[in-house]
Symmetry: C2
Subunit: 203 residues, 2 copies
């Protein structure tokens, strides 16, 4: 035990830096913030990007309705206040993942510019990659996989984005995906290409 | 573009499994839940474990007051309700990190057994490693690096754990660290040894 005590005398507090976390991962941490109307393809594209990156040994995670609304944000509803808090918490969690060197994809409608800009503001320059999944309301309403648009049109769902609540399209997103005219596989490749071309996939 | 469209026809949704995330990291995801009185050494030990693991190429993160109280939980105070919500949110975020294959250390007093047990309950068996950093109130009060015990004794801080609010010691923690008699370096090594012996450091 004498040796251990001697160790303690000269012990210094260690904190792992962001660079050290990124070094063992071999790439940068970043937030891929997918935004767009319900049924525009956000979650599917985010999960496909996640798959493509994982296949290449990139460390990733996806935050979407599946793991957030049933967990961290299960005590939030859809009032204006709760919607803002929903996005705020997701932004903070995304920041923690980016700090760990992870590339985190988030797939939420996030209709309000002010809420998205707050997320951008808590992240470092270049760390927030806003990806506008641009599909027309017509396209989304045609897809309507969960029948939500139908319910919203019937007045059974209130404050539904695109119907009776606004979607504020990004003004200067890092990337726009044309989800009216291209398929998931192609759009996911566009995201990966963007990351590659902008140096995210190396440390 | 014809080729891309053909691709879409046969496209299947990909979801990355937990196993696939752990495979590229080379080890399991887990939550190291450090609990104990203020100034018992939780955060310092958690950060030292983080350092030791990072040096070995293990993918880690630490959640502590520094990155949680100023971020995700900045809208929470110290009422009974807010304390419970504080621990609940930290548990949910820790779960997300474990899902990503990361070993996440959390360093919060987390004085109530019920709150800790709720975190254990949302995680898979073996995923939650409760680490009781056991230091006597006397030891912690002597250290008192931020002068908090002094303020609590003077009545300037209310509901202070160990003074006028209870600390419910873990009954069956996975690991107990003797912070009265051992130093940070030795205790951090004990945590790493536990993880090694219990198979956490391989995929």
């Amino acid at each position: 035990m004498t040796e251990q005590k001697a160790t303690n005398v000269t012990w210094h507090e260690h904190k792992v830096s962001r660079a050290e976390r990124e070094k063992i991962k071999g790439h940068k941490g970043a937030v891929l913030w997918f935004t767009g109307l319900s049924a525009c393809g956000k979650s599917t594209i985010a999960n496909e990007v996640d798959y493509l990156l994982n296949q290449r040994g990139i460390h990733t995670i996806v935050l979407d309705g599946d793991n957030i609304r049933m967990g961290l944000n299960k005590n939030l509803g859809f009032s204006a206040e709760d919607r803002a808090e929903n996005i705020r918490r997701i932004g903070e969690v995304a920041k923690l993942f980016a700090t760990s060197g992870t590339i985190v994809g988030t797939a939420f409608i996030s209709p309000y510019k002010a809420d998205r800009d707050k997320v951008r503001a808590i992240l470092a320059p270049g760390e927030y990659v806003e990806i506008y999944v641009n599909a027309s309301l017509e396209t989304c309403e045609k897809r309507d996989p969960k029948g939500l648009y139908k319910k919203a049109r019937a007045g059974e769902l209130k404050n539904f984005t695109g119907i009776d609540d606004p979607y504020e399209a990004p003004e200067k997103p890092e990337l726009v995906l044309d989800s009216d005219n291209k398929g998931i596989a192609e759009l996911a490749q566009e995201v990966v290409a963007y990351l590659e071309q902008n140096g995210y996939l190396k440390a």
